[in-house]
Symmetry: D2
Subunit: 470 residues, 4 copies
């Protein structure tokens, strides 16, 4: 809904070592990653067999199917390329900030797509300005590009330059880089954001999620490890793990909400994680009820898990209007015509006279939850028991999502009972933070800072969001 | 998917008797009706207290959120208006055919939105041309407008003119008409297409489905009866039922597929109809299986009905990519990148190693079904049993949908066994046509011509689709 | 300038009897006629050898090079077609009013392009509405189309129908009509607006001016006579002169301002007419001066005539900025940045210290003239003597131009001396209305109603402009 | 025509020291400079009293009136800004190359507009890449920006940094730079391209030509000297002339063709220069003739000079169609419909039976001249004597225009007699290179390398045009 938490970006890269054009496949892949960013889209390609420094790029504000058409896609000729979908968390939502970034540096063209958020972008940028750097954008991706370009002067290879740059970067980044003759993937040592390797015949693929591999019929090879740099070319996959650390800190909220349920993140099925979350909720917050329903689309799988565990039948209570897009305008001032109402409608037949368990992934400010509970009650639900498949949001995120500052988080200033009353529910249960590790099958290398305040990397002094514009 | 059957149109009309602007509410309502037509959208308004003959209109090719923005919607000032979303079945998909039609006639401005398809449009049009008529469009709505304008010369009121016109019209039509000072709704005597009356404070509403009433918080008053003309103004609702017949023939496929499950069509819950369809399938085509899944979105409810009746657990096996819109292009020639693949992905965790019952609403040509069955098998499904919540399509529709001619219908030339083998399923079961009446709770006043060939109104000689263009 | 008088329209039609596509040539021709209308453009074509009733049309708001591009022009396939450029005098400037009109009537497709203005459009329209007519537009072209369609029912041929329609039409009209199998041109009996016939190999051409023939390398055949109907097809040119009258009334202002100087209107060189006008001014309003300059572009030729007759040297004093187009916006409120200033600049070197004769075609409200005189004086001109190559505007035009109502005409309420003083000139001289016939080489069959008030056709009661919208 | 020689760019900058918005005035000024570049346009502004680093920019492909509308212009708030119109000579015609460039560097925002062309851009760029520079564009303006940013680290002021940068730049550049708190203008030591200072109340203005000052009612203060840096702020105009040289080399072709005739370039009236050129032609290549005509628009003034000197009467022989713009397409393959024909038409009345002197500014490949001569003869001219107001083009230009390489210049491989015959003229005379200095009133500080091969600055090895893209 309008108060959703957003992932910053989705990234994609393909290198077809036999020379076939890759733009169409990147385009398909970006569709599969569109849930990770809806503000802008872009694809850049070049030809590994052509002259160094030539490339084609098309990018713009909007969804993949708004930015690309047969004409502009047809002009993107080349067998190596990167693509990007973006929701802006740092850097204003302006045309010059749209990714991928395409730059010329000492070795030719450098095309970058970045998912994540640096916590030391401001310091790095200032350092570069004090050594003569100029910046066309306000996104930290340009800082990364600069670092790589400078390190490349003294590094024997592009991947070495990436590694040297990584030694200076702090924060979250999953990078896909097309250097003139190879495709490079890199993931920060904590592995905040996902990145996977795929293969299709003679083409290597990097993508944020496995669902993008499915979309282009590529097979999943493996995840890029936290801290790993992979270099893909006609010699296959090469790996540099010097930057890998013992303890990673993968974003747990990818499992709960960001990633698509048909994706596997770091080897774990997102679908299964959500089933597990629902089961835990049923164990910890059981309730006598007639039906379990999910708030579409992200609450559905956890609702099924709750149903399986509790024996309360699963049902579908909401019709979601998928035509209400990014450009939906609100012409009327009449409160009754809320955007929640336009996007969701209740199936009265399903809930009338029933005790309903309503499962959602999170509560941010609480207003959307309040409206949905009210819709259920207006439709005749006798009771509405809200179950949230994550712990309460208590702290902002600095690693590439827009979980906001504390004062905007309902859970920061209110007890669970207070929230329950504020949203009009008959009961409210959150997932217990202690059981989060069950979502990752016992692996504790995850980041839950937004719930626990345990920041793996120290946040910048002051929130960095949009600070370059000021 | 790409071989879906399409409804022709969705219509909407509002008259706010206290003088408030209605365009914003029509805009919201059209969002709720968008599933009935995605090719073009339009809104026309006028002011019942202003000079006769003045109006504002905006319409164009595309979805509601592509055609309307804050600027053009802001210019639509007026307290009476009609809106339309369209998928073209008759009349080419060209700008001049976009509805609503706005005309000036002897009494001022006439604004029409039409859902349905006449079977005698060609004859009527020829008659009018032979009495000096000129036509700007190739849609039968213009024929209806002409008839009304001509009848208005000798009829004391607009609604009388509509009635006289109806005496000449044959086929399917649900009409919403804004005459300078009142809103008129009319439904053909067979009631092929739905039309409902709503009310919100001092405003009267007409819409194709009740979900549009929900979207604007209007309350449902009642369905317009087959053959009824309703006239809505500051004096309330007036009705003329002279054209009503004993036996109506409402489109049964509205319940199975076209209408949104949260709508009530002629008093019957679409959701419940589909649950019933699923239950019947489970009774007639039972199968030993591990999971029942629906093909999104239309197969989901029937799948739940099947699960309820059979006891086989319900599951969600597909992730649908809702970003793949109307303007999706297919840049690649590689067969592997089918549009089915881009739109749907299978949750491998759900189906792997399982015997799957896959419920869909219909099979047209069979190619989409074949691809989906294959996707399930590739994801590890051990068996795939296809259950279709309608009887086999055997005949084309002439009443406002695009069920095509016989030679394009897989069931026309193949037995059920043959189809089962063609789509690669382990078993295949259709809904028995004899039990269709259970979907309407025993009311037999429905049209099932596409299954039975029993046409309530004789089809035109030769298929009328697009014939004006030729 | 911003107070220019505008011609209503330019029309074009081509029929290639050997079957070649004509859209490209119409496109070129419309460029040559663009000075006659800059608000909208359109081309409609069909194929005389294809099925009756099929056609292609593209039209839109804007200049020819804004409305057409390679893609939409490439889709206009057909060997007969009409084109139109428009400046709206009647009918609001809205999309549905853009010409050419394309209609289907009893005999197939009727494509019309119209230049002119009926004085009885309102009465005719009302009559048609009272016999069941419906109107999609507010332009009188639709009235003409209706009349033709109705007459066609009882007329043996399309050209007969046109003639019968003409018997009912009052006012100004030059029509180009593509009936399914022939191209028809017609001109009102007074011949207010021009229309010429051309030929290029096997193609016949109709156009508002000969400059459009030059643009496509067609040769000039002859003018369509006032009152004449011509029918062009593979049998050549056929003519019906039954409606011709003894005394025509061609618009004299075509020679003075509307037509391009490289055109010949009714056999007379526009260039020579303007030279003559300048000569007459020099004879009647001589002045001791150092240089004669024209206000671009329309005053230039008359200025040369003045120079030739008077012996005062001709010079160019103004640079016109041809990039300031239709969509020029005035973001600043500062009076100093007048649009006159943006469009014109003075060559100081030319006028500094000189006594200047400034020749322009007309004065409407006087404000533009005042600004230009001031610009000359600011640039150092010692004296500015204004000479106007037409008599004073005293009456509005009802025949297809926008000479406005009396209260907006500076000459209606002021003497020449008063105007001279209002515009800051040192002297002012108008062309004497008695000598207008010298512009047409002695032929008195012209309309000078805007100067004399002698209306060949009685104006409608009340100004008809835009009255359908009210 | 389609073979015109193009100037690279026009630049504009305003700083209103009282805080008024400047975007509207820059917009007006760019209209006046549009003849210097029609491919792209842009305006960037910031507020000297606001936070350092904030700015607004809008730019795009197309003419000023295509790129700007009321909405985007209204968003450009700020009292200091720069504007640019561009025709690409170096750097591909792609969106990222559109100027002005807006960068953030150590001192905040740097906004640059550049007219000219460096000959050592490639070396400088390589040097910067070898010290860690990254490039977003392929235009040399980015190289200049980088140099300034780097020099700023060790320079006390922005203007000092500009001076240090200039010590490394070779070639042609007229720069307008908005540093956070001041407006800076700089011109290369040879002064290849013009740059003037203007003032309007409390606002300082920099512009390529004085016609832009006229357009906004600013008064001309003086030219920026070759090699001079001017710094404009609330303290007035400050100047640094350390880089000035004894001998400048202003582009002589600015007088002959590029600049608008109402401009003064380095103190000399362009209008008078062209009159002089025409007079010299009449002296050196006299001919018995009936009329002298100019090829519009650039040949007109020289034609008047020829007429004055020779006594042969001046006339206007061509009508230029100013609606044929940048986006004119050529849909037809028929040779007869040449674009010359669409843009120009001959006034037959003027040339029929006459011996015509046709004056043009230059001949590049000769095909356009050949077509125009043919048009005159087809219109009845008895003789056509071509006079060119510049010497023959023999060498390419490296200083900001697109005079092409030798093999594309008709004069490089053909004698004057041969050219005369190739273009079908009865005689042909060029301006003698020895008399060029008369155009600048005796000042020999001009560059005539395209005629003489005397390059004031050594050209790069190999033509630099577009080389970054390769």
């Amino acid at each position: 809904m309008d108060q959703e938490i957003h992932e910053e970006c989705g990234v994609m890269g393909i290198y077809d070592t036999k020379g076939n054009d890759v733009a169409a496949s990147i385009y398909y892949g970006l569709f599969a990653l569109q849930h990770r960013g809806q503000e802008s889209s872009g694809i850049a390609v070049s030809d590994t067999r052509g002259p160094v420094g030539s490339y084609s790029v098309h990018k713009g504000m909007g969804l993949v199917n708004e930015v690309f058409d047969a004409e502009n896609l047809g002009k993107l000729k080349g067998n190596i390329g990167v693509g990007h979908v973006r929701y802006s968390t740092t850097g204003a939502s302006i045309p010059q900030n749209v990714q991928p970034l395409v730059l010329n540096y000492v070795k030719g063209t450098l095309m970058l797509a970045h998912n994540g958020n640096l916590v030391n972008a401001r310091e790095l940028r200032t350092q570069m300005e004090y050594t003569g750097g100029i910046f066309h954008t306000t996104i930290d991706t340009e800082v990364i590009a600069y670092l790589i370009a400078r390190e490349r002067l003294t590094s024997p290879t592009a991947e070495e330059a990436v590694k040297e740059a990584m030694k200076k970067l702090k924060g979250a980044y999953s990078l896909v880089i097309a250097s003139p003759r190879k495709l490079i993937g890199a993931r920060d040592p904590f592995g905040f954001r996902p990145l996977v390797i795929g293969k299709r015949e003679d083409a290597y693929v990097l993508a944020s999620e496995t669902c993008a591999l499915d979309a282009i019929d590529a097979e999943f090879v493996r995840d890029v490890l936290p801290g790993e740099i992979v270099m893909l070319d006609e010699n296959g996959i090469q790996s540099d793990r010097e930057m890998c650390k013992e303890n990673a800190a993968r974003c747990i909220f990818e499992y709960i909400y960001f990633a698509r349920p048909d994706s596997y993140v770091d080897g774990i099925s997102v679908y299964k994680s959500r089933i597990t979350a629902g089961r835990i909720l049923a164990q910890m917050h059981p309730v006598d009820a007639d039906i379990v329903v999910g708030v579409p689309d992200s609450g559905n799988v956890a609702a099924m898990g709750f149903a399986e565990e509790s024996g309360v039948p699963y049902g579908v209570a909401f019709i979601k209007n998928s035509y209400v897009g990014r450009t939906f305008i609100k012409p009327g001032q009449q409160a009754r015509e809320s955007s929640v109402k336009i996007k969701l409608n209740v199936l009265k037949e399903v809930v009338r006279g029933k005790r309903v368990v309503m499962v959602d992934d999170s509560i941010v400010r609480g207003t959307t939850s309040e409206r949905i509970v009210r819709m259920l009650k207006n439709a005749g639900a006798k009771e509405v028991h809200v179950r949230i498949s994550s712990p309460p949001f208590l702290y902002p995120c600095y690693y590439g999502t827009d979980v906001p500052s504390c004062d905007q988080l309902i859970a920061y200033n209110n007890t669970v009972n207070e929230i329950c009353s504020m949203i009009g529910a008959d009961s409210l249960g959150y997932l217990d933070g202690k059981r989060l590790q069950e979502l990752t099958e016992g692996d504790c290398n995850y980041c839950d800072a937004c719930f626990s305040g345990n920041y793996p990397v120290a946040p910048p002094e002051g929130d960095i969001r949009g600070s370059y514009e000021k």
